[in-house]
Symmetry: C2
Subunit: 215 residues, 2 copies
DNA sequence: AGTGCGGTGTTACTAGCGGTAACCCGAAGT
DNA sequence: ACTTCGGGTTACCGCTAGTAACACCGCACT
């Protein structure tokens, strides 16, 4: 039927439009940071609000669409880092570095995803929050849990352990990265090394000051 | 002078009022979750918006006031957990447990502090974000870093290491706790044990599946 | 031909938010 | 008496997310 073929063409057309809109949204997010408004995005795309809402439902929908985009890209990066050799120091460091490189490369997008309504204006901090971070980070955590389950032999109850560790490690990475991005207290390599050390049990290894020697 | 004494009395009076307002705010936050509005808080306190603004400047000020309250309380709890014996398993577990108990006891307040504008409504998620979490978690991270610096002998560059670890551990705790609070996949004790294991280097210890034996 | 229909787009609006200016009133100070 | 001052109010601004209602255009069908 021509109607189906036509609808197929229409489909691709609207999808292309959708992607154009997303690119416009991304541009304005890059510019305005996390407080990008629907009006501004629509203006950037050369249209007006209601079509945005037709395409994405509500602001959450638009956010989610943007988020899955970046989350997918980030997950792909991390996957290549994770799929390299075995789960040894080098691999952990590579994974950490992949994440940190990503957030370092596009801090604005990162802030939008994590802290949707932040502003870096000095003393004035408005303050509403973004909850988008949760889905992204949860996906990361689950993904990491899968890798851990696949790679390590954790014995009985290992799935739970893997999930706890996955989410824990992701949280560690995210929060340390957030802090580092704000204060820039050291180079990325140093940060990666310190975090890997932490994961590698140095906290247990260095031991107490009065109890025993450092190393 | 009576004027100074009077001003002193006034001072305490306004501070008492302030605390009353904060308690009202807390009540409504407990009820309405993270999307508590200034109107609602003012109504709960039996007054109207502008006085709230006279006391706290802007919504951020009110939030900060609430946040320092809970942060102080939480930090006090954690401090007692941290100041017990030495930095050994038991202490780490006690600290983790203290944090998790706190967020378990008052999830609403916790959500307000961390994800200011969340809603657990199923498919519909409105979504603005809150950035308040940052100060709270940053304080926690720095505090933990201090403790680590005090307790452990990290050699040269130890301060940086301690800060990285402090923020990393806080992030791990926070995010794993967030996930756990949502999914409740296990008991608190189990979670604490798994996280302590992770910090204790089990990730390095269990080793790869093809490479070597578990332990 | 013409007639409907799905798509894109607009203007104009609502409801509610954070935040503020202007005013009001009762109690202290001189 | 008269002023000043702090707690309190009404009424507003500007903004946001989100929504009708309407206009237009191209295509298909009869």
């Amino acid at each position: 039927m021509e109607s189906t073929e036509h609808s197929g063409r229409r489909q691709t057309a609207t999808e292309r439009r959708r992607r154009e809109l997303l690119e416009a949204a991304e541009r304005i997010v890059l510019r305005d940071g996390p407080d990008a408004s629907m009006n501004a995005i629509a203006a950037e795309a050369g249209i007006t609000k209601p079509i945005l809402y037709r395409h994405f439902g509500d602001k959450g929908g638009l956010y989610r669409a943007l988020a899955v985009r970046h989350t997918d890209a980030l997950l792909a990066n991390l996957a290549t880092a994770l799929d390299a050799p075995v789960l040894r120091r080098d691999q952990v460091e590579a994974t950490l570095d992949a994440y940190l490189s990503a957030i370092e490369a596009r801090p604005q997008v990162y802030r939008f995803l994590m802290h949707p309504s932040d502003e870096d204006n000095a003393s004035e901090s408005g303050f509403d929050v973004g909850r988008h971070s949760a889905p992204l980070l949860r996906r990361l955590g689950e993904e990491l849990a899968k890798v851990i389950t696949d790679r390590l032999d954790l014995g009985p109850g290992g799935e739970l352990t893997a999930r706890v560790w996955g989410h824990g490690i992701v949280g560690m990475m995210q929060h340390a990265g957030d802090w580092w991005l704000r204060e820039r207290p050291c180079s990325r390599e140093q940060l990666v090394k310190q975090l890997a050390d932490l994961l590698w049990g140095q906290l247990a290894a260095v031991d107490d000051r009065t109890d025993g020697p450092g190393f």
